[in-house]
Structure formats: structure tokens, C-alpha cells
């Protein structure tokens, strides 16, 4: 029985890691431009397809990951330049609609150019090795996902806390006008936030594809929305909050399916969004968010 619970726990941590990777970028972008980037989930899809293309071309795996990271950076910068910068300063609703449109464009563009058929996606065989942990055995993939997430988040936190661009990012998130007065190149800083956040999402796409085995142009939708839920749980705009929210959501989802009788497992997504509504009502600033603006 402990074995079963341990297994579920690791599944939850794995899923939570993926949500956290996407949610952190989401939260960074929100923190700096105060806009929900609906197309963030689609960067996950772009990352997954970039991986597929690279592996198909015979690139060694060690090289694939950095290139996918770079693809994410490029995608983020493009999204910022093409959509976010022109509408900066417009009413919030305008921005929201624009990112929704961007997401629809990327998804349907993907359907158009890549065909809606799901593609198979395989990690190398080593990744399927079972590793014993206590009474349970876990696939190497799950451990790699959890470890990658922790390392990347660690690096990100160091960048944001300890470097000059990171400091500029925090200042811009705090107050864009004042940051500009202090001589910070706000445009470049915002772009950097998009680049970093989207790089994490692209890597999440690589890991997502490898874990679940199939990718398709619409695959980014669910992680994008769930990352939003994770952000709300943790407090929108806070990086540690997004991480905690991601893990809580991942664990919650897996435990919901794993612990309740099987007839409830179909209600998984309803559970996620009911949680969202509940959190927004009871704890509108999330666990770690600050109440600097009205949400409710």
C-alpha cells in the first residue's frame, strides 16, 4: 500500500514539475506586463515540435535540449515584439483578447502546417529504465523531469535575484515608470522576461512529449490553462508562488484520480477548474501573491 502511495506521490511531483515549469514563465510575464499570456501554453507545443524535428534530423540528445531552449527564447521574443509591445498600455481586456487571438493563430497555424494528427514522440530507451526508490520503482523519465525542473528553477531564481538584468526585471515588475526613470532599458528587460519564461515552457514541451509519448498542435492548450490555475493558487506574479502552485496542482490532480473511486477520475479537469474558482473566491491573492491590484 505504501508502494502505491509513493508511486502516486512521484507521479504527482512529475506532473507538478511540468506545471511549475510552465507556470513560472507565465507568472514572470504577468508580473512584468500585467497581462495574461494566453499563448504561453503554445510555446510548450512549439518546444515539443522543435524537439521532434531535431531528433528526426538525427541531432544527439545532449544538443537537442539547448537548441530547444533557444527556440523557446526566440518564440518568446517574437511573441513580445509582434503582439505585446504594440498593445502595451492598452486596456487590459484588449491585451487579453490579443493574446487569445495569438494563441488561436499559433494553434491553428500548427494544425495548418503540421496536420492535426498526433505524432509519436520517444525518449531514448535508457529513459525507460526503472529506478527503485524505497518500495516503489520509478521510470528514469520521471526523475529526469523532476531534476530538470529543480535545476532550471534554481538557475532562474539565481538570475532574477543575483544578476543585474534580474534586478532590472524585478524593478520593472515593481513599477515600470519608475524603472524607466532609473535608466533601465524597459523594452529589453521585458523582452528578457519573455525570453526566460518561454525558454522554460519550451523545455516543458520537450519533457511533456517524452513523458506522454504523443504530441499534436493543440497540446499546449491544457498545460497553458492549468499553468494559469497553478499561478492563481500560488499568487500571480510570484515565482516561488508559481512553483508551489504547480506542485500543489499536480499533486492534487494525481491524488484526485488515484485516491478516489475510479468513477470520479473522469472529472479530473472539472476538479482543476472548480479549484480555480474556489481559490479566486476564497484566497484571491493566492498563497504568496500581494494584493496590489483588485482581482475580485
Amino acid at each position: 500500500m505504501t508502494q502505491y502511495y509513493l508511486q502516486q506521490l512521484i507521479n504527482g511531483l512529475m506532473l507538478g514539475s511540468l506545471y511549475a515549469l510552465v507556470a513560472i514563465g507565465f507568472s514572470m510575464i504577468y508580473g512584468i506586463v500585467r497581462l495574461i499570456n494566453f499563448a504561453h501554453g503554445d510555446v510548450v507545443m512549439i518546444g515539443a515540435f522543435a524537439t521532434l524535428a531535431l531528433v528526426g534530423a538525427g541531432t544527439p540528445w545532449l544538443l537537442v535540449a539547448p537548441v530547444v531552449l533557444l527556440t523557446g527564447v526566440l518564440a518568446g521574443i517574437t511573441i513580445e515584439r509582434a503582439v505585446f509591445r504594440p498593445i502595451r498600455g492598452a486596456p487590459q481586456v484588449t491585451g487579453f483578447i490579443a493574446t487569445l487571438a495569438l494563441s488561436v493563430m499559433i494553434e491553428n497555424g500548427g494544425v495548418m502546417l503540421l496536420s492535426p494528427q498526433p505524432r509519436n514522440f520517444l525518449f531514448p530507451d535508457v529513459m525507460r529504465t526503472r529506478v527503485p526508490i524505497g518500495p516503489a520503482t520509478v521510470s528514469l523519465t520521471d526523475l529526469v523531469i523532476i531534476a530538470t525542473t529543480l535545476i532550471l528553477v534554481g538557475v532562474l531564481v539565481l538570475v532574477v535575484r543575483r544578476t543585474r538584468p534580474g534586478m532590472a526585471m524585478r524593478a520593472t515588475a515593481e513599477n515600470l515608470a519608475v524603472a524607466r526613470l532609473m535608466g533601465i532599458d524597459v523594452n529589453r528587460t521585458i523582452m528578457a522576461a519573455f525570453a526566460l519564461g518561454s525558454a522554460l515552457a519550451a523545455i516543458a514541451g520537450l519533457l511533456w512529449g517524452g513523458r506522454f509519448g504523443q504530441i499534436d498542435p493543440l497540446m499546449g492548450f491544457a498545460p497553458g490553462l492549468k499553468a494559469f490555475v497553478a499561478c492563481v493558487i500560488g499568487g500571480v506574479g510570484s515565482i516561488p508562488g508559481a512553483m508551489i502552485g504547480g506542485y500543489l496542482l499536480g499533486l492534487g490532480e494525481v491524488l484526485f484520480v488515484g485516491l478516489l473511486p475510479p468513477e470520479y477520475s473522469g472529472y479530473r479537469d472539472a476538479f482543476v477548474f472548480a479549484t480555480l474558482i474556489l481559490v479566486l473566491l476564497v484566497l484571491p491573492n493566492g498563497l504568496l501573491g500581494r494584493s496590489e491590484e483588485e482581482r475580485a
Binding site: 495574461i36 487579453f96 494544425v111 492535426p116 492563481v232
Partner: protein, 338 residues
């Protein structure tokens, strides 16, 4: 000071009559396929206009219309479904319901009431939220409704969807309901209630100070939108005779928002024009998508059009206004001297 708008009955009546003539012509001259297309375009008009009340006038950013459509459509379809097939298709229905086979109108009304009631319940929970938080919460509502219908397969046949719903609607039915929706929206917009909604959209605090009950007005706008969405769902399912839990989903929510924004947030005329234009455009592009094998092309173009519109003319085609000739009463009314 301007006197409040009086409704120009002549202009309104003429528009309704013109519409009826057009409907008669379409019905008489065009093929079945094109008539169905006209019905769908009109249903879109109804959805857009009712969304103009919720999103356009009141400034709520709700994406929940498809959820209410789904509820209205399923309830109406279950009520009109042939009784002899019910026990086989929907084994969990209670016996008193399984033997019923209703006419279209009562079934649709019950469907719309179900949608309305769920909007009241949901509204109490989510209408305290603002901006994109409300948007994502209502998006979540679409998913929750879909998941529930998927899992209650004893009532709804789950993911298989409900097929073989009788085709009980025709163009006249759809036209009549659309006229009603437009009329209600028009009257609300030009009455004190509409002013209150606009005030909430522009400045909630100021509206509150003027004595407007913000929550009640928002709830009313939300619920009214849901009622017409429920009706539209009932009409749609009895037009195309099939429904699955995902029939009315997030792409539809997006398209409706596009119609509202391109028409002009809060403009009823704009909503009508945009709904007709975009739904027909989407249909006209279908053959191209199929011959070129570029599925998704129309959605890409619509999204691109929306982004361009937001950059070049964010207020939409008509802003929040209506064309002059429909408001001629304003010009003729004597100006009050203050």
C-alpha cells in the same frame, strides 16, 4: 442636455420587415444548404447580440456563452427526443421523463431556463471577479460543463454525443428568436438599465456612487446573456440534429468575442454585421481549406483580423454606438434647455 433616445418605431419596424422579406426570399430561392447556413448566421447574430449585453455594455469579460448553449441544447434535445428511443439511448432517465416527448417551444424554453438558472448560480460565484480572471473562470465553466456531460452518459450518451435529434427548427423560427434577442438588447441599451450597465463598464466606482447596484446589474447582464445562449443552443441542436459535449467549446467562445470586438464593443448593429460577415466568411473559406488541405486557415485569418483590428481600430466598426438612421428620434427630439 439631450433627451433620452426614443425608439424610432418606423425605422425599427422597417428593418424587421426588410429582414422578413430577406428571410422569405432566402427560403424560397436558395438551396437547403444555404438556408441552413442562413440559420446558422442568424443564430450567431443572436449569440453575439446577447453577448453584447454581457460583455459589450456591462464590460464583463465572459467566455461562458458556449457553456450555456450546451446546457440549453442538451436539455431541449433530451425533451424533444423520440420517447420510444429514449429508454435505449438514455437508460438513466427517470421513467416520468423517459416517456415524454415535447414540442420544440416548451423544450427550448425549459432549456433556456436551465441555462439561466445555472448562470445565476455561477454568477454568484464568479461575478465578483474582474477582467481576465472572470474570463478564465468562465473558460473553466465551459470545461466543467463538458466534463460533466461527458461523464453523465446515462442521461446524455457522454462522448458519443446525441444524434438523431429531430430537425424542428426552420429559418422563420430562428429569425423570430433573433428579432426578439435584438429587440431586447436594443431596448435595454437605450433604457436606464443600459445606461447603468455602461456606467459600470466605464467606471465602477462612479457607478456605485450614483446609486447603481453593481452586482445586481452585472448578474442581470450575465443571466440575460445566458438565457439567449440557451435558446440559441436549443435552436442549433434542432437545426443540425447532432450534439456532442464539445460541440460548443472554446473556439466558439473565441469567435463570439471576435464578433463583439470587431463589431464594436456595445454596438448592437456592429454585432449583427460582424456576426453575419464572420460566420459567412468562415463558411466561404471551407472549400479552400479542403482543396488546399489547409485546415485551420479560416481561424488563423479571423485571429489575424482581430489582432489587426485591435491595433488599428480598437473601438471596432461601430464603437459603442449605432448608425444614425436607426436613431433618428435623437435628431428630431426637441433639445431641452437647461
Amino acid at each position: 442636455m439631450r433627451t433620452p433616445v426614443r425608439h424610432d418605431w418606423l425605422a425599427g419596424g422597417a428593418v424587421i420587415l426588410l429582414g422578413a422579406v430577406a428571410v422569405g426570399l432566402v427560403q424560397a430561392l436558395l438551396s437547403d444548404y444555404l438556408v441552413t447556413l442562413a440559420c446558422i448566421a442568424l443564430i450567431y447574430v443572436m449569440l453575439t447580440v446577447s453577448l453584447q449585453v454581457t460583455n459589450g455594455l456591462t464590460g464583463l469579460f465572459s467566455l461562458g456563452h458556449p457553456a450555456f448553449m450546451t446546457i440549453g441544447a442538451y436539455v431541449a434535445a433530451i425533451l424533444t427526443y423520440p420517447a420510444q428511443r429514449k429508454s435505449f439511448m438514455m437508460p438513466d432517465l427517470p421513467p416520468w421523463l423517459a416517456t415524454q416527448q415535447w414540442d420544440l417551444l416548451p423544450a427550448m424554453l425549459i432549456g433556456a431556463v436551465a441555462a439561466t438558472l445555472s448562470a445565476v448560480i455561477v454568477g454568484f460565484c464568479v461575478l465578483r471577479l474582474k477582467g481576465h480572471y472572470l474570463a478564465v473562470a468562465t473558460l473553466g465553466l465551459i470545461i466543467i460543463v463538458r466534463v460533466v456531460i461527458n461523464n453523465q452518459d446515462g442521461y446524455t450518451r457522454g462522448g458519443l454525443g446525441l444524434s438523431g435529434v429531430a430537425r424542428l427548427t426552420d429559418l422563420w423560427w430562428v429569425y423570430a428568436w433573433t428579432v426578439l434577442a435584438v429587440y431586447v438588447a436594443w431596448r435595454i441599451k437605450h433604457a436606464s438599465l443600459g445606461r447603468a450597465m455602461l456606467a459600470i463598464r466605464e467606471n465602477e466606482m462612479a457607478a456605485r456612487c450614483m446609486g447603481i447596484d453593481v452586482f445586481r446589474t452585472r448578474l442581470l447582464a450575465f443571466v440575460l446573456g445566458a438565457f439567449f445562449a440557451g435558446i440559441a443552443g436549443g435552436l442549433m441542436v434542432h437545426l443540425v440534429s447532432v450534439i456532442t459535449p464539445g460541440s460548443y467549446g472554446i473556439p466558439l467562445a473565441f469567435n463570439l468575442v471576435v464578433m463583439v470586438v470587431i463589431g464594436g464593443t456595445g454596438s448592437i448593429t456592429g454585432g449583427i454585421v460582424a456576426a453575419v460577415a464572420i460566420s459567412l466568411l468562415g463558411e466561404a473559406l471551407k472549400p479552400f481549406e479542403e482543396t488546399l488541405e489547409l485546415y485551420g486557415l479560416s481561424q488563423v485569418l479571423i485571429a489575424l483580423g482581430l489582432i489587426l483590428m485591435l491595433r488599428l481600430r480598437p473601438q471596432g466598426m461601430f464603437g459603442s454606438g449605432e448608425p444614425r438612421f436607426l436613431l433618428s428620434a435623437v435628431r428630431q427630439a426637441p433639445q431641452a434647455v437647461t
